[in-house]
């Protein structure tokens, strides 16, 4: 097995764990962590493709994309955490009440 394939497979597993977590977890923080794990999977997938075609040096485009993606993901996660914190302060709830 090529080394990039290990990364690609890991990225797929992380993505699925995250996706499952978003729907299965009830606690706000767990849901937010699940989206971060999903993001980690996607970024790893991008980076593993950069390594695959590398003969002498890695493809720089995926790295540029991943940097942007991480910025977006961090901002979203921070926003989600702020919302969750505010909801907890106002109502004391830690999960969606009528969760489906």
């Amino acid at each position: 097995m090529e080394i990039y394939q290990i990364y690609s497979l890991t990225s797929a597993i992380l993505f699925v764990i995250g996706l499952g977590g978003v729907f299965a977890a009830r606690h706000f923080i767990k849901k937010i962590i699940a989206t971060i794990i999903m993001g980690g999977g996607v970024f790893l997938c991008f980076v593993s493709f950069a390594q695959r075609d590398a003969l002498t040096f890695a493809d720089p485009v995926p790295h540029a994309l991943v940097i942007t993606g991480i910025v977006v993901a961090v901002a979203s996660a921070a926003f989600a955490l702020a919302l969750a914190r505010r909801i907890y302060q106002l109502t004391g709830e830690e999960s969606f009440t009528n969760d489906k």
Partner: protein, 511 residues
């Protein structure tokens, strides 16, 4: 790509709202609203000028900072993008005018909620950027800008129900964009490019492409609240403030639809299969029936309108099966495709006008009554004639009675359904209209019914009612330029390559 004429408009359409949004942050409540409103008016003027430019010169491009792709970003404004930008501007300017008056009226109780204007202008910049984007990653960035601004707007009131709905919305949005990005990674891995035009030529049908198509479609369906991922929409849209609900339902969800339409037409043409189309169509059909039924069962006005969005977005999903012919069926002309395609776009435009008007009217009623339980709508006609009229007109467009924009959309959808031989979608369209008529007439019956007890209707600024009515009228007026608008859309490059690749894709997908 570089042979297209270069124009400054695409860059200005993104840059100007960002500039005005940033500028408005330097002012206090009143000043900020003024700067925000000026920004909205300027952006509308610019959008109209850009629209005229595309009508005269055809598709135009702008290369940001002179950096050629793939390193730089290329913005392309073709007729499809021009129509969406024009729609955003027209709906946006009325919502802006409404919002200006609305927040003035609320100033005494809430302090005017100062963050509305910068967030709305950033959202507008994101929407324009989305419509102008020409590569998969740029689409991701713009849809994230839209998503974060939209959630921030949705929680503006700071109430716990809005916050909880907003968090649900944000989690759905993040999940959707991560799924979309995963698909983008797979496509980049297999082709080495992100450019939409180039991808349409080089993308080979195969397992990777099919899987990428699947995750991208799922991600975008979560973002546009397609069944069964609609659960976040009704609470988020109904708990937001009136101008925000109007923006969210009229414009924000359409962004994801725009990406999905462009990707299916332009990029995935060769790898689309009949089954994929039918699958997404079934999701749309269930959304139409289920959403309309839920709307019918609600007892508060904003929840009715929000559930009705789920149904109306279902019609948009029903366009996708019509893009692919059944196995064994061959077509020698693209008539059916043209009907289906324009049906989708007409549905987007008429829903944008009608739903914005509906939510703005709901905002007026909440302002007058302090709540939006529908039994209090009794004798609405006696108290607020203009608002009752706006609800009636917008409702007629949602049902799809002639001569409204909604009728045009549903008529062309039915035409596409019969021309492509997929007759089984037709009953869904009709049943959806019938259910829509159910809840619209329920509202109108109450509006005309005599009041049982005296409910206090507080006076509401007349201009608010007029803006809501103008938007409702807009959903009728868009019918008149229909012929030239359809011709304009068909001159779009997306449509040309879409027809070609779909006619070709029929062979690939079905053999």
């Amino acid at each position: 790509m570089t042979e297209l004429p270069i124009s400054p408009y695409p860059a200005l359409l993104v840059g100007l709202p960002i500039l005005m949004a940033t500028l408005s942050l330097f002012f206090r409540t009143r000043g900020e609203a003024l700067v925000g409103l000026i920004g909205a008016l300027l952006t509308t003027g610019l959008a109209i000028m850009a629209f005229v430019e595309v009508v005269q010169r055809g598709a135009v491009i702008h290369i940001l900072g002179g950096w050629e792709p793939p390193l730089g970003i290329l913005l392309r404004m073709d007729p499809l993008a021009a129509v969406f930008i024009g729609m955003t501007a027209l709906v946006g300017v009325f919502i802006s005018l409404y919002a200006w008056r609305y927040f003035r009226a609320l100033e005494t109780t809430t302090g005017g909620l100062p963050l509305f204007w910068p967030l709305w202008l950033f959202l507008w910049a994101g929407l324009n950027g989305l419509f102008l984007s020409n590569d998969l990653f740029n689409l991701f960035v713009t849809i994230e800008v839209i998503g974060i601004c939209a959630v921030a707007l949705a929680v503006l009131s700071g109430k716990s129900t809005a916050l909880s709905a907003g968090l649900r919305y944000l989690l759905a949005a993040i999940t959707g964009s991560m799924a979309y990005l995963f698909g983008v990674a797979l496509i980049y891995g297999s082709t080495g490019t992100l450019d939409l035009g180039l991808l349409g030529q080089v993308l080979e049908p195969g397992t990777t492409t099919t899987f990428a198509l699947l995750v991208i479609t799922l991600g975008l369906m979560i973002k546009m609240a397609g069944f069964p991922f609609h659960f976040w929409l009704p609470p988020a849209h109904s708990s937001a403030l009136a101008p925000v609900s109007a923006l969210l339902s009229a414009l924000v969800v359409k962004g994801a639809f725009y990406i999905l339409l462009r990707l299916w037409m332009e990029v995935f043409g060769v790898s689309l299969t009949y089954a994929a189309g039918q699958f997404i169509g079934i999701a749309g059909a269930i959304a139409v029936i289920w959403g309309s039924w839920q709307a019918f069962m609600q007892t508060s006005l904003k929840l009715i309108v929000a559930h009705s969005s789920v149904a109306q977005l279902g019609y948009l999903l029903m366009v996708f099966p019509l893009l692919i012919l059944a196995p064994g069926v061959t077509a020698d002309s693209a008539d059916w495709l043209s009907s289906a395609w324009t049906a989708g776009i007409y549905q987007v435009i008429s829903h944008a006008f009608a739903k914005a008007s509906f939510f703005l009217s709901a905002g007026i009623i909440i302002m007058a009554l302090g709540h939006d339980r529908i039994e209090s709508l009794r004798d609405l006609v006696g108290h607020m004639r203009i608002t009752a009229m706006a609800i009636g007109i917008a409702g007629v467009s949602l049902i799809g009675l002639p001569p409204s924009g909604g009728f045009m959309a549903k008529w062309m959808l039915l035409k596409g359904i019969f021309l492509s031989g997929q007759w089984w979608w037709a009953p869904v369209v009709l049943a959806g209209s019938l259910l829509t008529a159910g809840y619209v007439f329920m509202l109108l019956r109450l509006a005309f019914a005599p009041a049982r007890e005296k409910e206090p209707f507080r006076p509401v600024p007349k201009s608010l009612e007029v803006f809501a009515l103008l938007l409702a009228l807009g959903s009728f007026l868009i019918v008149f330029p229909a012929d030239s608008l359809i011709q304009f859309l068909e001159s779009s490059e997306v449509f040309g390559t879409g027809v070609e690749s779909i006619l070709k894709g029929g062979v690939h997908g079905n053999n």
